[in-house]
Structure formats: structure tokens, C-alpha cells
Amino acid sequence: MTTANLVFIVMLIALASYWLGIQRSIKVAGGKQQVKHLVSLPSQYGLLTAFWCGIPAILFLLLWSAIESSVIDAFLIDQVILSADGQVQQNMGLVVNNVKLLAEKITLSEDLSAATELQLQNAQFYILLNEKATLLKTLLTLVIAVGCVSSILAKIKHSFHARNNLERIVSGLLFTCSGIALLTTIGIVMSVLFESIAFFSQVPVTEFLFGTQWSPQIAMRADQVGGSGAFGAIPLFVGTILISTIAMCLAIPVGLMIAIYLSQYATKRIRSIAKPMLEVLAGVPTVVYGFFAALTVAPIIRDFGLLIDLPIAAESALAAGLVMGVMIIPFVSSLSEDAMTAVPVALKEGSLGMGATQSETVKKVILPAAIPGIVGAILLAVSRAIGETMIVVMAAGLAANLTFNPIESVTTVTVQIVSLLKGDQEFDSAKTLAAFALGMMLFITTLALNIAALKIVRKYREQYD
């Protein structure tokens, strides 16, 4: 029986045990009218029974699935050694893999003529082993579920505090759920860290950080020991910075002016139609922006370049950067609007009362007071721009040119991650691992920007509260 089916069956048993728990508690109480003499409500007894049935069984299943394959492999290796008269072969992993492939062929009843007698024997053994494991897994799960249910049913008495027990379990579950976020972060750090360490054992850190040549494809083709592709990430960093700078050049002024207009000048009606407009800009998926950049903006820019005799690359940094700027406008405007509305009204009214015009108040009073919040917003926007993937994947190039010229084609960190990991990968090649090293750089940068932004914003809040 597959694990998914087993989980389903365990859930059915849990449902049944909910009902059993209720019935049992009513019986203990001595009829439906006597239920008030119990310490807890019948449904609480029922829920407790259900939890006690489901949780241990499912935990067991998880544990079993985690270790099953390695245990079976150990048995299989023993068998292979035995069948080869105790000789430990060098490429044991290969032999074991062949046996597994053969076993798959047998279950699909494919052509087996190429296999030797010995291999067939081992494959049969492997199939038998798997069958036994599945049988054992099913049996043990059922035994645990049923055993837990019957033991808890036996415990149900007048004085059994089902509610307290139940609440302890529920708060434990809530606590576990809140830990998921932490686990995610640990997972992210571990996955990028380990692969990056593996990468840096093949390519020196200094070459990665300070090299100016990036051509990971060579490593695949040459297929030499030590891989010889160039992994200098400077062109990628420069490309990322270039595109983000273009984006911010558009997003900061426009976003800031929108925020100023909406928070200081706009009537309620204008606000009520401008807000949904910003929500549309913020809600459009990035793949749509990417499509827009690659198929509408880039050709327009190139045609314009032809008009003034300026050769602009088809995948120019300008197109990707401008569209990314459009994407970030609502981000900048809503965060800086929050910062400006948080400025105490007294400051603003004081300035207006002294005869300053609206714009003078904004420039000399509100903006300086809100500047920490706005800087925080800009930092968050920059981190957004750096991590943005789809727009650059679709509209920026793949060639790693080291240039600050916005009309040339550049590539970014995220583009390279996607192009390195899209499709099939081998996990030992430097090419694949490089993506994780880039991912680590990206993670560290955005994390630093976020922490800095939060710090600045928090500091500013303390000033006025």
C-alpha cells in the first residue's frame, strides 16, 4: 500500500475513533442524560481519541518513509556482496543501481534478455525486500493507530480530564506550526550553504567574487577534471546593479511624487481611483511584465535607436530596467505614503500656519521628517529589484558583458540562476553548484537590505510615538 493511501486510511480510522470516543464517554457516563457527570464534554473525548490515533500513526509513517530507502539499500548491498562470494566490488553504487533498474523492468514486465542470472536473482531479492517493507509498514501503521485508540479508550473514565489533555496537544500543534517559518529559513540557509561550499571547493572564492569572466557553459563541454569554465561573477553583479539602477531611476521619482500627491493634494475621489490603479500595477504577475518588456518595450526602444542612428541591443538593459521600474512604482509609493502619513499633523499644520505653501511644507517639513521611512522603502524596493527574476529572464540577455552602458545587453544574477538550473542538472558539476553560490549572494544581499530597512524604520518610529 502506498504512503498516500495509508495516510488516507489513518484519517478514516481517526474519524471512526472520534465517534468511538464519544460513544465510549457516553457509555462510561451511563447514558446521554448522565453526560454532565463527566469531567469533559463527549466531543472532547472524541477529539482526543482521534488525535491520539492520527498523530502517532502519521509521525511513524513520516519516519518510516525517511529511512526506508537507506535501510533497503543496506540490505541489498549485503545481498549483492553475498551473491558475489563476499567480494566487495569497487563500483558498488553502480551495481546496486543496475539491480534497481532491472527490478523496475521486471515489475513492468519488459524485456529482460540482457540480464545475467545473478542480476536477476538480486533484482528478485530487491523486489521481495520492497514488498516486505511495504507490508511491514502497513501492518505497523495500523497496529499503532488501533493500539493507540484502544489504550486511550480504556483510559476514558469519569475523572479523566480529556479537555486538558486535548488542549495540551492542540497548543503543541500550534507551536509546531509557528516553527515552520523558522524551519524554512534554516532550510534555505542550509541548501544554499552546502551547495555553495561544494562549489567553492571546486572554484576559489576569490575567483568567484572578483573574477571578470563568466562563462559556465565551457565546463560542461570540456568535461575535464576540475572543470575549466570561468566563474567570475563581477559581470553579473554589475549587470544586476545596472538594471536595478535604471529601475530605481524611474521608480523613486515617480513613486515618491505619486505618494506626495496622494497624501497631500489629492481629493478623496482621486484617491479612490488612483489606489486601485496602483493595486493593478502591483498585482500584475512579473511574467506579464516580462512579456511586455520583451515584446513591446524592447522593440520600441530599438526602433527609436535606429531612428537616431544609435545601435541598441535587442535585449538592452534599458528595456528590462524601465519595465522593472514600472513594477516597483506602487511598492515605493505605498511605503513612502505610509511614512508621510505617519508624520504628526501638528508639524504640518505648524508649517502651514506660518504661511508656508503646501510644496514648501512638503519639501522642508514632511519629507525631512519622513526621510527614514522613505529610505527604508527605497531599500526594500532595491532588494525587490535585485531579486526580481522573470522580467530580466525574459527581457535581459544571457551574455555576461561587463559594462555600465544601458543600451547594451547585460545579464543578472537571477537570469544566470534560472539558466543554470532550468532543465536537467547533475548535482556534482560546478555549473549547477554555481547557481547555488549565486543564490547565496542574492539571499545575503536582500537579507542585509531588509534588515537595514527594518532597523531604519523602527528607529524612526521610536521618535514620534
Partner: protein, 429 residues
């Protein structure tokens, strides 16, 4: 500064000076205000251009031209004899004869090959299906509508003067198309197949059904995981968590996770969920798990805000009547916070619906023709389908891509509108 001015000048002189500067100050005030207005207007223009551009590119995809062919299902043509299954007959040559009969003066091999390119490559399967569905039409002549090739379709949609060559259609082909149109053998129909068929290498056959199903499955997994997990975590942090280092750490963590680039979650999915846990690549299950991890912070933050907004008097009243902490939370606080939690969940799901980058990492980017039947089947999702089509060189895919974007935006609009409706409805209470 003003002090010095006050002492040296009489009051009227100061007013005079201020009056003089007023024109300039008012002008700069006007300038500033109109710059702000211009920024807002620019925002509107951008939204309009974006939506107009995509809609105008998408419209052609909702129609498809069909051509009517007089197919001779004679036993001779099909090489039919007793005992041969209807599956194995010569449909391709029968179809070729059908169109060749309509243009008897086309003689040279090269021209004939062009002629055979007028209809879609799947036309032979269409007439095969027709014959299998109606076996009694064997040995008769039937008028059958089949799709035209994508180049012909684009030509018919874009041409201003029928019969003139355009882009990928030359003079001869244009003349043939013209004569077909004049004899009423070409018809423009609503392209329902765009919604009922799956991905294909041929633009005229490609549809979004596979991607839509994949999106649906992925979203189901995401919802089933992220909603209970997010609500439970929010409840714990708001109602149960003691104020200590551990809680602080979790809080900081959630805020940071919300700002981690989505592609990093793809790396996590690839390295941990696929390589360590061994779940299948390209499956909605893995996609759903990755998107869950990505949307959890959004849902947790929104749920916490909503739980915090429940007035403490509710909790105190319940506790005063003897309810336990858990009973208070689940029977009073949670139901009152539910609208806000649902709004947050819908917004999180809308984010997940439009997400592409992490799904590229876990292999949902393959060319998949079959409609996925379960959450472990290989599949793709709408945004990835858009990405794949946008990369295709055929011009026919341009309209398809835009149309797929419109479908995706439609879903997003529905989700956001329902979130806004929920919010407004419960705000007024």
C-alpha cells in the same frame, strides 16, 4: 534670519518683500503640484498601455479560421479493404487529394507541397476521428471543416487586401486563400479549443487546459497547506506565545521571509524537497509546497493583524464565563478574525497564482501535452505556460501568449475583487 530682517526694515517693507516673492512661490507651488499630478497620470497611462497592449495582442487568439474540404472517403482513396481497422487507413493522402481537387491547376510538386501546408497538421486526425465516429460515411464524399495552418490564420486576420502576399504567405498561397474565401469555404469561428486543448508545438492547436488544470492542482495544494499552517502559526504567535527570545526570533524570521526573493524558494525546493525528500520533479505537489513556504509569511502577517483587531473584551467575556484559553481562541477569537484571515489568504493565493520563478527551478517548465490527473503528475502552470509561449519563435504564439495572460489576469482580478468585497463587507460591521 528673519530676526535681522525685522530689525532693519519697517513692517510694511517686509510685507512688500513677501508679496514680491509670492508670485514665484506660487509658481513653484503650481509646478510641484502638477508634477505630482503628472506622476499619477503617468501611472494611469502605464496601466492603460499595459492592458491595452496585451488585450489588443490577445484578441486574435479567440478566433480561429477553418477551411471546408470536400473529402472523398472512397475505399480506393483510403486503401480500405475488409479486415483493416479504420485506424490504419491512408488519411493523409486522402486529405491531400481533397485539397488538390479544389485546385486542379496546381501541378508542380513545390506548389502542391505549399497547398498541403494550408491546413493544420492535425487535419488528418480530424478526418480520421470523423470517419471513426461515423463509419457509415465510408465510400461517400463529405464536406469537413478543418483548422487552417497558423500562418494562414494570421494572414486572414491581418491582411487588408485579400490576395496580396504578406509576411509568410506568398502570392500563390494568397490567391488560393482568396479563392477559398470567395467560395465560402473559409469560416471564422470562436476558438473554444483554446480552453479545451492542451499545449502543442503548433500554435493553431495549443490551448491552456493543461496549464489551467496544473494551476488548479497547485493552488489546491498551496491552499490546503498554507491556510491551516498560517492560521495556526498566527494564533500561536498572537494568543499563546510567551514574550521571549524564541518568539522574537520567529517574528523577525517571518518578516524577513516575506522579503526573500521568490527564486530562492525555488532553490530550496530543488535542493531539499526534490533532492533530499525525493518528491517527483515537475509535480503540482512540489510546486504547491514551494508556493506554500512563499505565501506563508503573507498569510501569517495578515492573520495576526486580524486576530489582534478582535477586541479584548470578547476574550475577557469568554474567560469570565469559564472558557479555557483554547476554547476562547477557537470559538470566539478565530470566528471573529476569520474575514480578515480569509482576505489575507486570498491575497497570498493571488501572489502564488502569478508566481513563476520558483516553479522554473523545480522543473515545471517542461513541454507537457497531457492534462495532469493528480498532484504527482508532471504538469505546468499558467504563468510558466506564458513564459514558454513567449519564448516560442512562431508568430502564432504571440496571440496565444497574450490570451493566456488575459485568462490569468482575469483570475487574479476575480480573487482580488473578492478579497476587496470581503474586506468592505466586514469593515462596515
Amino acid at each position: 534670519m528673519t530676526k535681522a530682517v525685522n530689525e532693519s526694515l519697517p513692517t510694511s517693507a517686509v510685507t512688500e518683500k513677501i508679496k514680491l516673492s509670492l508670485t514665484k512661490r506660487h509658481r513653484s507651488e503650481m509646478m510641484f503640484k502638477s508634477t505630482g499630478l503628472a506622476a499619477v497620470v503617468l501611472g494611469f497611462i502605464l496601466v492603460f498601455v499595459l492592458l491595452f497592449d496585451i488585450t489588443s495582442k490577445a484578441l486574435p487568439a479567440f478566433h480561429q479560421h477553418w477551411v471546408q474540404l470536400e473529402v472523398d472517403f472512397s475505399e480506393d482513396n483510403l486503401r480500405y479493404s475488409e479486415g483493416i481497422s479504420l485506424e490504419d487507413l491512408r488519411y493523409r493522402s486522402t486529405l491531400r487529394k481533397a485539397i488538390a481537387n479544389q485546385f486542379p491547376d496546381v501541378k508542380s510538386r513545390r506548389d502542391k507541397r505549399k497547398l498541403y501546408g494550408l491546413y493544420s497538421t492535425n487535419a488528418e486526425f480530424a478526418i480520421k476521428d470523423f470517419l471513426i465516429a461515423n463509419p457509415n460515411t465510408l465510400d461517400t464524399i463529405q464536406n469537413i471543416w478543418v483548422r487552417v495552418d497558423d500562418d494562414v490564420d494570421i494572414y486572414l486576420k491581418e491582411t487588408t487586401s485579400l490576395g496580396e502576399p504578406l509576411v509568410r504567405v506568398d502570392v500563390k498561397e494568397a490567391q488560393w486563400i482568396k479563392s477559398l474565401v470567395e467560395t465560402g469555404r473559409i469560416d471564422k469561428r470562436f476558438n473554444i479549443e483554446f480552453f479545451t486543448s492542451s499545449d502543442s508545438r503548433e500554435p493553431e492547436l495549443a490551448g491552456v487546459r493543461g496549464a489551467l488544470t496544473g494551476t488548479m492542482l497547485t493552488m489546491l495544494v498551496t491552499l490546503a497547506l498554507s491556510f491551516p499552517l498560517g492560521v495556526a502559526a498566527a494564533l500561536y504567535l498572537e494568543e499563546f506565545a510567551p514574550k521571549n527570545k524564541w518568539t522574537d526570533m520567529i517574528e523577525v524570521n517571518i518578516n524577513n521571509l516575506a522579503a526573500v526573493p521568490s527564486i530562492i524558494f525555488g532553490l530550496l525546493g530543488l535542493a531539499v524537497i526534490i533532492n533530499i525528500f525525493g518528491l517527483p520533479r515537475s509535480a503540482p505537489l512540489v510546486g504547491g509546497i514551494v508556493l506554500t513556504l512563499m505565501t506563508l509569511p503573507t498569510i501569517i502577517i495578515a492573520s495576526r493583524a486580524s486576530i489582534k483587531a478582535v477586541p479584548p473584551s470578547i476574550r475577557e467575556a469568554a474567560t469570565g464565563l469559564g472558557a479555557s484559553k483554547i476554547q476562547t481562541t477557537f470559538s470566539h477569537v478565530l470566528p471573529m478574525a476569520m474575514p480578515g484571515i480569509l482576505t489575507g489568504t486570498i491575497i497570498g493565493m493571488a501572489q502564488a497564482l502569478g508566481e513563476t520563478a520558483p516553479l522554473l527551478m523545480i522543473g515545471m517548465v517542461a513541454f507537457i501535452v497531457d492534462v495532469p490527473a493528480s498532484i504527482t503528475d508532471a504538469s505546468t502552470v499558467m504563468p510558466v505556460q506564458i513564459f514558454l509561449w513567449a519564448d516560442s519563435p512562431e508568430r502564432g504564439f504571440l496571440a496565444k501568449t497574450s490570451a493566456a495572460i488575459l485568462v490569468l489576469l482575469g483570475f487574479l482580478f476575480l480573487m482580488n475583487a473578492s478579497a476587496a468585497y470581503l474586506r468592505r463587507r466586514f469593515e462596515s460591521k
